[in-house]
Symmetry: C2
Subunit: 361 residues, 2 copies
């Protein structure tokens, strides 16, 4: 790929442009707001001048609701050899393009699984996609040349290509992204009216479950508006489990021992299925998080304590795979949980104890 | 407090005994399995000999189902001046004791909010409760002397006392602990049958939401068996929001624009209530997690990288409040997200960039 046109210079468009420009591709930038395109150009993402000739790849990075119209317009003008979009849903834009009578052979819908809290060209960075999955949804009618251009884009952005059917993609993000967001919000919503004393009892569990409940509601309404059906389907499954669970809990209140046992069995079933599902969530390098073991270290709240722990672990040759700091409410002391390869637990524990750290077994 | 009797030498009982023994209290240990009591004694938690005289405080640390009978027996024998239990629910044991005809004035139900993945005396440690909330549920009939003994126990274990009504406690843990557990399991359960390709798209959001879905089902069935009513009540509220949310999503699929807008409003409402609830979840020192800002640093997967980051942050005088390591699936590179005081963001960013780190803005 030698030339590209990025239409829409928000976070994703600018980041892709920055990555392409950094790897020697001539990038043209367009936006319905010319100031945004010139901001992206000033950041080194390319030029906001119109391309003199047909470019290799047009990358449409506008909000989901405008994707189909923008693509149809670009294809009508014949600005590129190949066309992709980067919207977070893939079935809808494809169907809209068909309704608009477009030839879909030079088009492939894509979705880079990357983002951040901030938006706009100033939030863009060439490394936004590094190591992230980037979904490509070619069909049997897609031109191989366009597929290869899309793969090259993904490679130049240092992302990991994942090929999927468009509707399967939408069901997958409903499952692994949109549903967790809504459920997290619903658990957090229960706390809105809770007593202050009850809220003081919150521990790490609810902190983790509700972390993404802090997300921007408007952005999420936009995302969910583009994928309501698949999300409703997944949530309907959750609602069934939830109704069964409430029933099981009510049975556990019964005076009849058989009913109580039946309720307990129902609860155990949903917890076991949760175990089975959780094992499938990939951790680092695609492995399950269960593959790591935890070493817990007591710390005080002083700058440099964490540095010392990590330095000591590094000197012992142990690679820390994940870390979690648990602070006690209202206290100056805390706990650092280090996740390491099970084979490294002994070496790390020994090294830390030798260096004066207190471990919680 | 000079003497104590710990009945039940599992994780909690042994940990409390270790803390008391370390602070000079003479601790007697009892267990229906004498081997466990002698194991705890061998760890330095006290003696497994029977007390020669009435002790100051009896601490009943047996599974919830046996709490009332064990307490009633100890009170009948008059082994102590004051009696507490440490079970994770408080309403049930109190009612059972009343049914057994016990005088409740020398008894206070308590619940230390601490635990770990492992159980049994060998998992015990004197610092298990350090900085954790320890709920006390005195009534107006409780003897002040017993309340003071319980407060002394909490102080000697270096926990933070929180006084609550027994039923309010049970509703609170249903809200902040039992409900998040079940909901996390239900979200994870959706992944059990998911396509491998879909699972590859999992990001940090679902990883956080489903982390506690890896918990032990049997332990949780026991916990939930003792508190089914309050948990069912909270889940019924979640179920209502969930039903409304599915309906809102279905409305968003409608051809009618008013219906679509109504659906979007419904979704925005639950997301906003989620924001409001999340703000109430205490982070460190009781403050909301929103009080921190994030600095994201790119790292490669080499031992020592984290040590260098923390050392560099320490040299800049910046205290890192929380940290999250985000590894890209199948890749050797990752991102470290450092949570710091907003006033420290500039100093930390400058220090890290000066020392050669790549930041993601």
């Amino acid at each position: 790929m030698r030339t590209a046109l990025v239409i829409g210079t928000g976070l994703i468009g600018t980041s892709a442009a920055l990555a392409l420009a950094a790897r020697g591709v001539t990038v043209h930038l367009a936006d319905h707001d010319p100031d945004r395109a010139s901001t992206a150009a000033a950041l080194g993402a390319g030029t906001d001048a119109e391309p003199a000739a047909r470019v290799d790849l047009a990358i449409v990075a506008v909000p989901p609701a405008h994707v189909a119209a923008t693509l149809a317009d670009a294809m009508r003008r014949g600005v590129a050899r190949g066309y992709i979009d980067v919207a977070s849903v893939k079935g809808g834009p494809r169907r809209e393009l068909l309704e608009l009578g477009c030839d879909l052979t030079p088009y492939i819908g894509t979705h880079p699984m990357a983002g951040k809290e901030k938006s706009g060209p100033l939030a863009g960075s060439a490394d936004l996609f590094e190591g992230r999955p980037w979904v490509l949804t070619p069909t049997r009618d897609s031109e191989t040349e366009v597929f290869n251009l899309a793969l090259e884009l993904v490679a130049l952005c240092r992302a990991v290509p994942v090929v999927m059917d468009a509707d399967a993609h939408d069901r997958a993000v409903a499952l692994v992204s949109h549903t967790p967001q809504l459920v997290s919000s619903m658990v957090a919503a229960r706390l809105e009216e809770a007593d202050e004393t009850a809220v003081r009892l919150c521990g790490q569990g609810i902190r983790d479950v509700t972390r993404i409940a802090a997300s921007d509601p408007r952005m999420w309404v936009e995302i969910l508006s583009a994928n309501p059906g698949p999300v409703a389907d997944v949530l309907a499954g959750v609602a069934e489990d939830l109704a069964d669970t409430v029933q099981s809990l009510r049975a556990m209140e019964s005076g009849d021992e058989d009913k109580r046992r039946g309720g307990a069995d129902g609860i155990e079933d949903v917890l076991r299925r949760g175990n089975a599902g959780r094992v499938r969530v990939p951790g680092k390098h695609g492995s399950a998080p269960a593959a790591y073991e935890m070493v817990s270290v007591l710390i005080s709240d002083q700058p440099g304590q964490l540095a010392r722990i990590f330095a000591d672990a590094g000197q012992a040759g142990v690679n820390i795979e994940d870390v979690r700091i648990e602070h006690a409410t209202g206290q100056q002391a805390g706990l650092v949980q280090l996740m390491v390869d099970p084979q490294a637990v002994d070496a790390l524990s020994r090294a830390l104890v030798e260096r004066g750290w207190g471990l919680r077994k």
